[in-house]
């Protein structure tokens, strides 16, 4: 009863905040809606007994990434979007590709039918100790690969941001 209520309550907030993120004219409000969305998602994780994921969601996304987003938005002093900005053809094409990919992914996820006992094991994976074991024992190789990819993108970002000096 309570969990059903919480699910609907948090879902409505999450969806409303997500819509707010893409419709708000002011980038600061977009960022704030996104923060609200992250909090609602963290609440949904909590109802699934995935406390660790929920807290990490808050620490990493709400606490670090969105603070940096806000910082950049405020630093550049971005004003409200003008109403008649029209997306270019390239943007529209990319949006269609990304949206199509998202729909495909979601249909694949919804097609998965979990057996009841498997559902239980998925829930148990929210525990910190279990996640630690999985990341550093069973899936240590993909985990390390991801960290290398992140490092590469970090180096790339610095390289792009840095102005080249002519030799």
């Amino acid at each position: 009863m309570l969990s059903t209520f919480l699910f609907w309550f948090l879902s409505v907030i999450a969806i409303a905040a997500a819509i707010g993120t893409i419709t708000a004219r002011n980038p600061v409000f977009s960022a704030l809606s996104l923060v609200l969305n992250f909090f609602a998602l963290a609440g949904l994780y909590l109802t699934l007994q995935a406390e660790f994921i929920a807290v990490i969601q808050v620490i990493v996304y709400a606490g670090a990434i969105m603070v940096l987003f806000l910082f950049v938005i405020m630093l550049l002093n971005l004003g409200s979007d003008s109403k008649d900005a029209i997306a270019s053809k390239l943007q529209m094409g990319l949006a269609i590709i990304a949206g199509g990919g998202f729909v495909l992914m979601m249909t694949r996820i919804f097609m998965i039918q979990l057996e009841p006992n498997k559902k239980q094991s998925v829930l148990m994976n929210g525990k910190v100790e279990k996640i630690g074991e999985w990341l550093l024992k069973d899936y240590v190789f993909p985990f390390e690969i991801i960290s290398v990819i992140l490092l590469a993108s970090l180096v790339g970002a610095i390289l792009i941001a840095k102005k080249y000096k002519a030799h």
């Binding site: 660790f52 620490i59 670090a64 910082f71």
Partner: protein, 340 residues
Amino acid sequence: MELADIGRILATILSIVGGLITAAAGMVYAERKVAALIQQRNGPNRVGPWGLLQPFADVLKLFIKEDIVPSISNKFVHFLAPVISLLVALSAVALIPFAHNIYIADINIGILYTLAITSIAVYGITLSGWSSNSKYALLGGLRSSAQMISYELAMGLSVVSVILLTNHFSTKDEYLRLSSIIDAQTTVWNIFRNPIGFLIFLTCAFAECNRAPFDLAEAEQELVGGFHTEYSSMKFGTFFLSEYINMFMASAITSILFLGGYHIPFEGLFADKINPTLLSVLEVMMFLTKTSFLIFVFIWVRWTLPRFKYNQLMNIGWKVFLPLSLLNLVVIAAVLLFIK
């Protein structure tokens, strides 16, 4: 859950929050008295005996002052910012164990929850800076967000070193619980096992609380009042209140992580011989003594050290504390592996 249970939880929450707000008033008084002591003045001594009623007079004054909102500010966010600040400061207290049986909640991801709460505290300051539509407030908000991001990493890494120690010394098996972290310190406090971690954590706590020598977000000489320049009346009071509650929280967390929390030295010798209620009372007093001492250190440092420059702050955060805390973590992990 029974109705009586909900009633008891609500009563605990109300008494702890009420006590915290009163404690904040006491801390304001302590700050002014210690500042006066350090600067060889008398400090407040007119309102009530020894000036003890000064903070209450100040709060009364703040309440009856006019609330001025800048005309071209963002009114909603301007109102929201102090609310976020106070809400975040107060919600961190939910996990603080005052004695082995006095707390609002003891959850299995305790220390992570605390880190999450401190990491979102920056929104109150950043948003107040942005919504005021004033260059001083905006600069204060920007500085604050950059500062908090920089110091959170070193802080998190020193917490990780504490969790490694907890893993090794605790008799319980959920190492992120605050009660397990205290349990691991029954023989030796973590400050002796991990002194570098303690220093890094305490310094980062100064930065996270926006206290001198890291109070760049409200550097009076450069930014008028920093992020709260455009706030008046009780909205300003709310920022003030949450700053002191944050200071209390930082001291409480530091005492839990490094000074054994509510644990009394040599408690094992007499714990089972005395009345359990008396033991709880003694533990609360022990915890408050440790926390008060750390609050005194906060005040002491504020009135002793000059403020850092912005570039110095960033340099120390990224080039000194981050590598140092990483090194500390590796050394502790290696030692623990060796003595296993």
